[in-house]
């Protein structure tokens, strides 16, 4: 695997009417858990969508897994990079197992039913997300945590070496958030899969990410190993808040304690 999972050079992208970023340069290392952090609207999700070719940049070059993004076929790219979008959606009556099987789309052969390896991948994804018992449930009958795990199972079944997740812990309580991030990290450690995760909670990012990219107003404000990026000065610059950083006595990772919005104190 190449050392960079994705490389954006001088990329300008946005949606009808407004640019999210203009001339963005960004390199995402492979084989790590990478967290994208930053205030709302700073470009994290857009960067993720550019990497997965969900939106086409107006200009600039994007490289993914060692090839220009445009050179990948739709299914080839899907076998390399999977993505869980921010608000995934499927019909209420779809059963969990059928949903997860949809993740096998890029692997399945034409004219055939699911092969043994498709079934195996689905079962394994269900097992890893502890959803095996709920395989026959319609997704409308799942709790918030279960639903999120079902979608993660679908993404895992895609068996891509790299997985992008846009706020996977959104709407989840603390226990479920931890569960999911633990799962991602163990998949990274055991199977060497790369993860790029948009996270709002800096403490979660500090705890689980190897590498953090900080976005501010459509630019990369900082990018580097977690320890280098998590500094009081960078957080103050990116989020406009004053905070104190401590090292966790047992885990050794930094803990962020926000003090006050630096805007609130006035100029």
């Amino acid at each position: 695997m190449p050392e960079a999972l994705a490389r954006l050079s001088d990329v300008t992208a946005g949606y009808e009417g407004h640019l999210v970023f203009d001339g963005l340069d960004l390199t995402i290392p492979a084989g790590q858990v990478v967290a994208l952090c930053g205030p709302n609207g700073s470009g994290k999700s857009t960067a993720l969508r550019v990497m997965r070719r969900l939106i086409t940049p107006q200009s600039g070059a994007v490289e993914a897994v060692g090839k220009p993004l445009g050179d990948w076929g739709a299914k080839d790219l899907a076998r390399q990079i999977a993505m869980l979008s921010q608000s995934p959606d499927a019909p209420d009556e779809l059963r969990v197992r059928d949903l997860v099987m949809l993740g096998r789309f890029p692997h399945r052969r034409a004219f055939r039913g699911p092969a043994q390896q498709d079934h195996d991948a689905v079962e394994q994804a269900l097992r890893r997300t502890e959803m095996s018992d709920l395989g026959e449930r319609p997704i409308a009958a799942l709790s918030g945590g279960q639903l999120q795990r079902a979608w993660i199972a679908m993404v895992l079944a895609q068996e891509a070496p790299a997985i992008l997740l846009d706020e996977p812990t959104n709407h989840l309580d603390l226990a479920h958030s931890l569960e999911i991030l633990e799962l991602l990290r163990s998949l990274n450690r055991e199977e060497g899969r790369s993860f790029v995760v948009v996270l709002h909670d800096l403490n979660m990012a500090a705890r689980y990410a190897d590498h953090i990219v900080m976005f501010r107003a459509g630019r990369v404000a900082a990018s580097g190993a977690t320890g280098e990026v998590m500094t009081e000065e960078i957080i103050a610059r990116v989020f406009g808040i004053d905070c104190s950083l401590f090292d966790h006595p047992l885990l050794g990772c930094p803990i962020v304690v926000p003090l006050a919005s630096s805007n609130a104190r006035g100029p």
Binding site: A78, S85, P88, E93, F105, H119, P138
Partner: protein
């Protein structure tokens, strides 16, 4: 152990498909049996198998079968078009009639009749161009609805495609009404037929054209059914799992347009089949792959044929247009299924 999930549901889907199939066969035999003189099922079967007296065979194959075949084929085509559209738009309300495609096709046909009829009510060009006119009209309206939805400045909300569809359907309907009034009276009767939908005047050539359209569409659907299934996911997830979404949407939309247009060209703007048949299939056998598409086609075929049978027996000697009755059968059934769904989910 990895296949148990599939096998655990298969029998139910298979059984449901079998029931659907047997129902359609029974309706077919009944439909052939009905007419100036009733022919009991055993005689119908003998005639179909070529073991009946010559008169019976003529009655069955020449007089009655075209009508039954047209009803079955038009129903299947409209139902499949509905199933495709509901997937492509990710909207359970989508159907050829809701999205203006049916009315677009009817407008195409009426304009065709208006342009190419002479004073004595005969066509100056071959009637075989009629499906082409229908396809043209349907395509124009489908493309308009798609373009408006894509260009909607407020984003492609799930309701906006329906709103544009309903608006354009009303436009097409109004244009047809105007043409009927503006044009000479003798064409109004023909146009009226297309607005309600009937299989009463069927010839073998009608059924043959429809069969040809289905012969092209069904294998394509069979091969592409997995891409259709992938469209159950939201746009982002569908692309992220490797679907070429825009190409797939365009291709399936074209398929739905052709199926609708050919059905409308021969049987008229029969409403309600495309909306309800896929829902009935979904509620009974679930939303998966080819079994679902088979059930949808069978449900549509049965619905139109059943409507035509009732249309013939409800007030003899009067024959009502089948299109007036698809709703009478389909609607109560559909409402029942809609309510029952909550019982399943609860």
């Amino acid at each position: 152990m990895s296949t148990w999930s599939q096998s655990s549901r298969r029998p139910r889907a298979d059984a449901a498909l079998l029931v659907f199939g047997l129902g359609v066969v029974a309706l077919t035999i009944l439909g052939i049996g009905l007419g100036a003189s009733f022919m009991p099922p055993d005689r119908v079967l003998q005639a179909l198998l070529g073991e009946a007296p010559r008169t019976d065979e003529i009655i069955v194959w020449t007089l009655r079968m075209p009508r039954v075949a047209l009803a079955l084929l038009a129903g299947a085509a409209l139902a499949l078009a509905g199933a495709i559209l509901q997937r492509v738009t990710r909207n359970p309300l989508a159907a050829p009639s809701v999205l203006g495609i049916t009315d677009g096709a009817a407008l195409g046909v009426v304009v065709f009749l208006w342009l190419f009829s002479n004073e004595s009510n005969t066509l100056r060009v071959s009637i075989h161009w009629q499906p082409v006119a229908a396809i043209l009209g349907a395509t124009v309206f489908a493309v308009l609805v798609a373009a408006l939805t894509i260009a909607d400045p407020r984003g492609r909300g799930p309701l906006s495609v329906i709103l544009y569809g309903i608006a354009l359907a009303a436009l097409a309907k109004a244009a047809v009404t105007m043409l009927m009034i503006l044009g000479p009276v003798y064409r109004a009767g023909q146009a009226m037929t297309w607005m309600t939908g009937t299989v009463g005047a069927a010839h073998w050539s009608d059924a043959a054209t429809l069969a040809m359209a289905l012969a092209v569409a069904v294998p394509v659907l069979w091969v592409a059914s997995r891409a259709l299934g992938q469209m159950r996911l939201d746009d982002d997830s569908a692309v992220a799992t490797g679907l070429s979404l825009v190409a797939a949407q365009a291709a399936f939309l074209a398929l739905a347009v052709v199926l609708t247009a050919v059905a409308v060209a021969h049987a008229g703007a029969i409403g309600f089949v495309g909306l309800t048949a896929p829902h009935a299939a979904r509620l009974i056998i679930g939303d998966g792959g080819r079994a679902f598409l088979c059930a949808t086609a069978l449900a549509g075929a049965g619905l139109v044929l059943g409507a035509d049978i009732i249309a013939r027996v409800i007030a003899p000697p009067l024959e009502l247009p089948a299109g007036a009755l698809t709703a009478l059968i389909g609607a109560p059934l559909f409402l029942y299924l809609l309510v029952r769904r909550s019982a399943i989910h609860a």
